[in-house]
Amino acid sequence: MFDSFVALLKRDLLLAMRRRSDIFTVLFFFIIVVSIFPLGISFEQAVLQKIAPGVVWVAALLASTLALERIFANDYADGTLEQMLLTPQPLWVLVFAKTLAHWLLTGLPLVLIAPLAGLQYHLSASTIGTMMLVLLIGTPILSMVGAIGAALTLGLRGGGILISLLVLPLYVPVLVYGSGAIEAAMQGDVSLQPYYLLLSAFLLLALVFTPWATAASLRISVE
C-alpha cells in the first residue's frame, strides 16, 4: 500500500517536471491578483497593511481553485484514473498521494512566494513569518477540500469556475482564521496560539475525512 502511494506520488511529480509551465501559471496568477488590488484600491502604506491579510488569502483561494481543475482531469482523460479505481489499494490512499503531489506543486510554491506579496504590502518580517506559517497549514486544507470539488466536476464543461462556485463557500473558515491570524500578528500583543490551534484542527479533520469523500466522488464521476 505504501509502495503504490510512493509510486503515484513520484509519477505525478515526474509528470509535473516534464511540463513545468503548469506550476508557474498558478504562481503568476497569485502574484497578478495580489498586485492588482493596490492598483484598484490605494497605494497608501496604512491601507495596504490593513487589507494585506485578506488580499493574500483571497488570492490564495482563487489560485487554489483554478489549480484544482488539474488534479484529476488528465488522468480522467487518458484512462489512468479508471485504472486507479481497479487497483487492490484503497482508493483514498491513491487520492491522498495525488492531493499531496498537487499541494507540493501548487500550494507549497504559494507559501514560498508569499514574502513577495508581503513586501508589496509593507508587512514586517515577523508578520510575513506568520503569514507563511499560516499559509503552510492552510493551503493543504484548500487542496484537500478542493479535491472533492474537482472529483465531483470531472469532465464537465465550466471547469474552474464551477469548482470555484462549489468550493469557495467551503473555504470560508480557513479564510476567516487564516487572515485573522495575520491581522493579529500585525497587532503584536495578541496571542496567535488559538489561530494556529484552530487551523491545525481543520487540517487534521481534512486529513481524516476528505480523502474518503474524494474517493467516493471519484467513483460517482467515473461511472
Binding site: 462549489l166 463557500p169 470560508v172 485573522g180
Partner: protein
Amino acid sequence: MAMNWFKYSSPSTFYPLASKMIPVFMTLAILLTLGGLYWGFFETPEVLSDQKQYYKIIYVHVASAWMAMWLYVVMVGWAVLGLIFNTRMSYIVASATAVTGAIMTALSLWTGAFWGQTSWGTWWDWDPRMTTQLILLFLYIGYIALQSAIEDTRRSDRASAVLAIVGLAIVPVIYYSINCPNPNECASLHQESSLKRIESNILIAMMVTVAGFWMYCFAVILMRVRNIILQRESHTQWVERLEVSK
C-alpha cells in the same frame, strides 16, 4: 413498516400520492400564514422599542430564514436516503427541496435587508446570521449548478448528494468562524437565544407563520416533485396514460 415506506419510493406510486396531498398542504399554508400574519399585524404592538411598524416584516423574515436552514437539512436527509437505498424518488425530492430552499434563503436575505434598512438604516450589515444565510444561498446554488451541469441523471443525483452532505458538515464551522473570527475574544459560542425575550403575542404570530411556511414549502416541493417525475419518466407507460386521460 419498512415495506410501507418503499411502496411510495417508485415515481408511479408517489405521483398520485403527491397529487392528493398538495391541496391539503396548500390550504393549510394559506390558513396558517394568513392567520399568523393577521395576528402579527393587528394583535401586536405598533412599535417595538425603537423600531417602527416596519419591524413586522420580521414574521416573514424569521419564517423564511428558518425554512432556509431546515430545508437544507431536509435536502441532505433525502440525499442520504438516496445514497443508501439507491431510490430515484429520494433524489427527486432532494432536488425539489433545493430550489425551494434557495428561494427561501433569497427571501430571508431580501426581507432581512429591508428590515435592516427601515430599522437601522443599512441594507446589509455582515452580522453572523445574515452572512451565514448568504453562504447557505451559495451552497444551494452550488447544488443546483452541479445538478444542471451534469447531463447523466444518475451521476448528477449522486454527485449533488455528496456535495450537499459535505456542505452540511461544514456549515456549523462556517457559522462558528463568522460568529467568532477572533478566538481570543470569543468567550461563549452562542449569542443568547433571542427567543426568550420576545413578547408572547409576537412569538405566537411568528410560530404560526412559520407553520404556514412549512405547509407552503411542502405543497410547493410536492408540486415540483411531480414536475420532475413527469420530466424524468416521460418515456414510461403510466405517464403516457396520464397525458391521454387528460
